[in-house]
């Protein structure tokens, strides 16, 4: 998940590297994702999520569709 100054810089990078465009999120959306995804592992109640729980996190911030489908 790579940071770019702008869509224009992303387009230039995709052109020079011949990489296929994936999904592009704003910093606001990535912040929402980070907040939903991460919690303090030092919390005694912390435990790894199941695949379905992780999918629910993606869904909860509106990241749905084929690109965001975790492996089963």
């Amino acid at each position: 998940m790579s940071l770019f100054r702008s869509e224009g810089h992303l387009a230039a990078w995709l052109g020079s590297t011949k990489q296929k465009r994936g999904e592009v999120l704003s910093l606001t959306k990535v912040f929402e994702l980070a907040r939903a995804w991460y919690s303090d592992p030092r919390d005694p109640a912390w435990r790894p999520r199941t695949r379905d729980e992780s999918q629910e996190v993606l869904d909860s911030v509106g990241l749905t569709g084929d690109f965001w489908e975790l492996p089963s």
Binding site: F4, R5, L10, K20, G22, S26, A34, W68, P71
Partner: protein
């Protein structure tokens, strides 16, 4: 492990874990390799040292996160904001544009979205995230 990471910016080494638990370095290396906590902590495939402890990187990356207590390195642009969440404090992120290398400074905190220019590109679809976590 996360106590040490948050306090000092890097995870404990095999030797430090061995000393802390009074075990041999071989047992320490094995314990890291056998951690059963999903994709959260990954050992370096060559050295066995802790390589990633989500969202932290053990070594320098393009995403430096500077907090009050320490500075940390994130594995990617998603994780740089994840560190602000776990550290639970305001941070300054010193990153670079992946295209041109221009420095990008982002002030972030665990409560509100950062106000900064920039977009994040997810190259790999979620179904392939765990095939090669380093590349992802």
């Amino acid at each position: 492990m996360y106590d040490k990471l948050l306090a000092g910016g890097r995870p404990p080494t095999i030797g430090e874990i061995a000393e802390h638990f009074a075990i041999s370095p071989a047992d320490s290396r094995r314990a890291i390799a056998e951690l059963k906590i999903g994709k959260t902590i990954l050992p370096d495939p060559n050295t066995g040292e802790i390589w990633m402890a989500g969202p932290f990187s053990a070594g320098p990356t393009a995403y430096r996160v500077i907090g009050r207590r320490a500075q940390w390195f994130a594995n990617c642009a998603w994780d740089m904001l994840g560190i602000a969440v776990i550290a639970d404090e305001e941070v300054r992120i010193e990153a670079q544009c992946t295209d041109c290398g221009a420095p990008m400074t982002i002030r972030a905190n665990p409560w509100t979205p950062p106000i900064a220019e920039g977009v994040v590109h997810f190259l790999i679809p979620a179904r392939r995230w765990y095939e090669d976590v380093g590349f992802t």
